[in-house]
Each structure stands twice: as structure tokens, then as C-alpha cells.
Homo-oligomer: 87 residues x 2
């Protein structure tokens, strides 16, 4: 399964969340990740994420597609994932 | 065509960008939008966006799917788009 994950969380928790998401997915923009993941691994990610976020304030949205080819990606401006190498 | 649009842009331009994107799409999280849009309208949106962003620093990523049903959406935590009514 191919997913896009975006989060909007309090500043203090961003570091933890970033680290968690990068364990499972590819970081493509500030708070946006994408990648192939199994249903089981996604559940694992979300269980861990729920320990980090404040459910009253923070949010995570996951878009799931059975196949990556069903989604076409277009980037305007700077491609950010080059940063990935430095962190 | 169904799209998800995410941007990562400098603070000073966020207001303009938000206003522009909301003309064409539904705001679902901080810098995330989704919705049905034609290829022509998307080009229009991106032409206007290119006038706002700094191509060296800012980025916009668009994921396009021919049909919304090919994407399943899951939200964890707070659903943000209720804010839409207040702005």
C-alpha cells in the first residue's frame, strides 16, 4: 500500500514525530511523508504516533492508495528531500 | 481529477497562499488542501502560486488521482477543517 502522511502538531513534538515517521516513510516536505507500507506497519506507526500527539489539538492525515501508479506527483519550487541526507 | 496539495512556504506568504488555495480546493489541515479540480483550473492555481512562492526556498507538492475513490483518507486526532467556517 502506498501512503501520504501529513501532520500538524505542536512545535515541541515535531522532532519526535519526524523521527518516528522517517522510520517508516520517506520525508518529502516539512511535515509530509510518502512511501510503501504494509497495513500492519502503518498501524504500528499510528500507535506510536498516538503516544506523541495531543488528540485535542494535533492531527495526522493519511491518504492510502492501493498502488503508487494511481497517484501522479508534481513538485513546484524546491524539492526538499535532498535535506534528508543531512539529518 | 482529485488532488491533494501541500505547501511549505515562508511565513510571510502563508496568508496569500492560503487564500489562493481556498479559492480552488478544500482546506483540511494547516498547509494541506484537497478536492476535485480540472487540469485547467489546477494550472491557473499553480500560475498564481508561482507569483507568490520563492522557487529557491518554498515548495508545493501536488498528488493527482484520476478518481477520489482510489484514495482512502484516515484522520488521527483533531479534524481541522471545522476551522474553515471561521475564516
Amino acid at each position: 500500500m502506498y501512503v501520504i502522511l501529513v501532520y500538524d502538531i505542536g512545535d515541541k513534538k515535531v522532532g519526535k514525530m519526524l523521527k518516528l515517521c522517517r522510520k517508516y516513510l520517506n520525508w518529502i516536505q516539512n511535515s509530509v511523508f510518502e512511501g510503501e507500507i504494509t497495513e500492519v506497519k502503518l498501524k504500528e506507526l499510528l500507535s506510536e504516533a498516538k503516544l506523541i500527539i495531543d488528540k485535542e489539538k494535533d492531527s495526522i492525515i493519511i491518504f492510502k492508495s492501493r498502488q503508487e501508479k494511481w497517484l501522479e506527483k508534481q513538485v513546484v519550487g524546491k524539492e526538499k528531500n535532498e535535506l534528508d541526507n543531512f539529518l
